[in-house]
Symmetry: D2
């Protein structure tokens, strides 16, 4: 109800503030008896953690997972898994000079309006650091999905106006921007360095592809598979839009163009993006999200403070010039949470 | 869990199949003691009902609401409101020749895969007719939102490639395509007639604007206001994408362009679309959805049947050449459900 | 949230007021593809309906079910089943003289305090008539539980101070008080007639036995199987207590007496009532509930009215002198709802 | 869904195993801006912790709370509070010799049947140690309820067959069995020592009284206030029954005796135990629970092992001869969780 929980059956609750003692997650509803090596989870954490490369924030967090419960002798027990990530490189004092001013693009103003109180240190609960817990939970879901033959891959498709023109899955984890086109990746890296030099930031587009989902997954009416994926993706701070399959282009098509015809091998085209009527159709599930430019920039901006006065603000924290590279594992994690939950819902229905 | 319910506090459950006895909805969690005239709900039903004009399906449903419970002497009692809409103009026999074939673009195949059984008559539960219950529930929510000073308006922004170039709210309900530009509306109507003549259909873009929401509405983390709106919109059958504020254009912007600066009067720009960090910022909430072309077209299409054989299919039911005009009240209804639920969640948190 | 829904996966929502147009229920999450004959549900309705015998209220309701959705060609479709029961023998005018006074034992005062408005006609939503919808839903659950080999039987164990001394399951449905001892049943019937003659009522104890549940059903911690059964039973208006197995007697025992020892055939005793740590242990699940005497009596009683004034009230509606005989099918229905939901939750966990 | 969460709005999730790294709780939906001193929570922990006196287990846990999130500068922020309690005095090796046998009265068999795997160390998740997290969360709820003028007190009413004959609230926390009658308390203590000497245990009855709840709290139908309290109490491991007000005695009464008449000052009697139709009536809320004798006894018992063989088992862990003294703060904590959640639900309904 209070917003920190996702899922009906495979249920995930995150906790913790950016500059508090630690952040973490509880995962409840995990299939019992599944072998789960902590290094499997750690690997995903390492993909998301700050300080990976020259294109990400220099904040240094090791994000070493501490599994407090729910595992016994290397296997899941079916009881809640609590995974904690200690905050180590906090610099709350870095925020003291801006504790009274609302940073443009940040949730400072809206959180204060909602709660009447806010932990201003590095956005507190609204920080992207909260997603560390999601990635840990997503890794648990990913392990369960592997057993089902499902794989998920996300990547940067566009960044700072530079589009990928080829798709080579093998290069994604080989370049620091996680682009699917190595040539475009080089240009994106240059772009980020340029922007960083002038204290600016940029947005981009991330695409996600999900394979191995048999036809029939998803719920009808309100909890359609695409509806849940849309919610999950828009729940990531910087995401401003999502489209499935042909997406916004579908709005300009005729039915005779857009309808995916079938033959004995299944669908001939995939304008639907793998989902019809909210339920998977067996084709690859494809969606793209619009990622806004990082709000934190090192340029003077006009804003208001908590006293209602206008002021100029300039922030010099440690930030990602573009959030795309590090949002990729978060997108995958959220997709894993949605899918694993849907599989369990389907099992419940048919039991 | 099984997908037919929306909302945490203001809870809506729809039921019924397109060609069954009736469709309807239960609304639970309604504020007690509120005067609610049935004609207020009926007015919204009339905006959605089929057979309104030459651009919509000729299926004739009066959609006269029958409020079975939850109202006493003209006021809400706080107990579940059940509202029933009798189906009258069913023609299940029209579907008998296609009961074994999967219509391209429709949920025929996916429903059969999910459930192992399906009511093939006019898409059964997957039919757009299910949204009648949503509109009835949305009208109840709208009444409650009026007390809060909130107003919601949606309209066709683009249809069949024709864009609105002006925005005049007063004309929206005056033209059958519900466009915000009367000149574009005329061209859209012609376009629909052209497509109908050749048995084809088209998609479009619908925009929704919400005013009067004070800053501070929405939940953090997973249940962000934009995440819930995204889920709600993607839960409408024909919707393939959504974007808030600058949306996909934000992906191509720099932070210094995209950040909405503030002055003593609030935000100077609205690239955020009225929501930051998942919480309303007091600006107008603005989003756009991509509506795919109507799947039912009167042209031969290649498909598969339930026996795994390829076949050609041609459907001649009664359909909307573009769903945009009738999706507008559904979009508004879903936005009402999201907002009213969020208001009640906020009240619970602060109590 | 607003209290009219039970279940996490097999989800049941009732609606309707005692003297409104109709009462009913939506059941969502039903396993698809199961043959379900309406007469199967009707049979359970007939066990609960008023006017069955000389020991029940003379209000005449046929309670003929109308299945509006969720069934296609005799089978469940997995979509919401809406079942409606028309009210026919309403006499709202019978309540007009007491609309301003709070009847002792009834929820008149508490509903007005909660909602600020109330439908005073025959207790409105607080009427036992609401349970008609539960019995319809319970019949659907019972059908699904039959496939699992589970059977549920409840009966009157004590009524008006008269205890059953033998247990013969075959006589339960053969006597109008649904006692498990035919001799005691005769005495109970006489007792009811005596009380009716003097305008009074009496309470009793109903026992429920559930067989065929394999070990391992139920959730840990908060949603223990006994916790859910307790909630379900206490949600029936007249129930004031519940105990499992040895129950309150266990409070007076030593551990060496109370612990159920095991041998190769399972448990040697059943002080636990078939549930340990909230999870079924394979033994018969046994619980008893305390049913308070019917609140409606035809004797002058002291009370308050809505103006805060003291007054004497005398009610002459149509009521059951003891609610035990008709509560039996409601107890069974609620047990069915709990169990079916638990089975589906178990399936989700292990998937 | 998986059972470790309680509450609709004020939502509590516990985690952790008895002999794992730590146990703890997440509380989400806390009213923001409330001053909350950690010592306030610690005080409740100290009432529950083991090793308090000669009548409780000698296991030594300091149960020092570690509030990881959700508090900023001494006030609640409205974001999830994670509270962790490190396990310090674990002796998992004490359980190694019984890891293959099912201890009578314990959830060993049922957990293994449910999950197919179990952490056998001190009952793992099924241990009473899990309730430490509940008490921490209950203290947060208690602080919020204080603002509403609500107070909750529970106490031992009967233990080992010895009944309290007087009620003096001031003595409850002054005697180690938490009885309301100091003379009975002395006899109870002797009884416990006697039983401990022979390696046996005993049950008892705990009563709870709640004051300051205005009329109108609770939900209708399934989520009645007494239904939720019943669920909450039966979710405590050792509880086998509950009754409200006159309780099981009501089953033997006539309506003319049982109905609580009203006068201008409210109810003249309180057979209802403060709840009618599931909603508070302004009178004191009173219920009693049956507590079974501690399952762990130091006597040889017959049982089965995981290989299906019969065997004799004798356990010599560190246990409470009667759980009543330490269950009292857990009962209060659960009552707090139920009430705070109900208040917030009521606020949501009326908003």
């Amino acid at each position: 109800m209070a917003g920190s929980t996702y899922g009906e059956v495979f249920k995930v609750t995150t906790f913790g503030e950016s500059h508090g003692i630690s952040v973490g997650v509880i995962v409840d509803g995990v299939t019992p008896g599944v072998e789960l090596d902590p290094t499997y989870i750690q690997k995903q954490m390492d993909r998301r953690k700050p300080g990976q490369s020259s294109v990400t924030t220099p904040r240094k967090e090791y994000d070493t997972i501490n599994i407090v419960s729910g595992i016994f002798e290397g296997k899941t027990t079916g009881t809640p898994m609590c995974i904690i990530l200690q905050n180590t490189d906090m610099r709350p004092e870095a925020y003291s000079d801006i504790q009274n001013a609302f940073r443009p693009g940040h949730a400072d103003f809206t959180y204060l309006e909602k709660y009447g109180i806010r932990d201003h240190r590095g956005s507190g609960r609204a920080s992207g650091r909260e997603t560390a817990g999601r990635v840990a939970a997503g890794a648990v879901a990913r392990k369960l999905l592997e057993r089902r033959g499902v794989s998920i891959v996300a990547f940067t498709k566009m960044l700072g106006g530079i589009e990928c023109e080829t798709f080579d899955e093998s290069v994604i984890e080989e370049n620091p921007v996680r682009a699917c086109d190595p040539v475009a990746a080089e240009r994106m890296i240059s772009k980020i360095h340029e922007l960083a030099a002038v204290g600016d930031s940029c947005g981009g587009i991330v695409e996600c592809r999900i394979r191995g989902v048999k036809p029939g997954l998803g719920e009808p009416v309100f909890d359609k598979l695409d509806a849940e994926l849309a919610k999950a993706m828009l729940s990531i701070g910087a995401v401003k839009g999502i489209e499935f399959g042909a997406g916004f282009a579908a709005a300009g098509m005729n039915g005779s163009e857009h309808n995916d015809e079938m033959d004995a091998n299944g669908y001939r085209t995939n304008n639907a993006g793998g989902i019809i009527g909210g339920i998977s159709n067996g084709a690859e599930i494809v969606f793209r999200i619009a990622v806004k430019p990082t709000s934190s920039i090192s340029r003077p901006q006009q804003t208001m403070n908590i006293f209602g006065q206008e002021q100029t603000i300039e922030t010099h924290g440690r930030h990602d010039p573009s959030i795309c590279p590090r949002i990729v594992p978060v997108v995958e994690a959220m997709a894993c949470l949605v899918l694993e939950d849907m599989y369990k819902r389907q099992a419940a229905l048919h039991d």
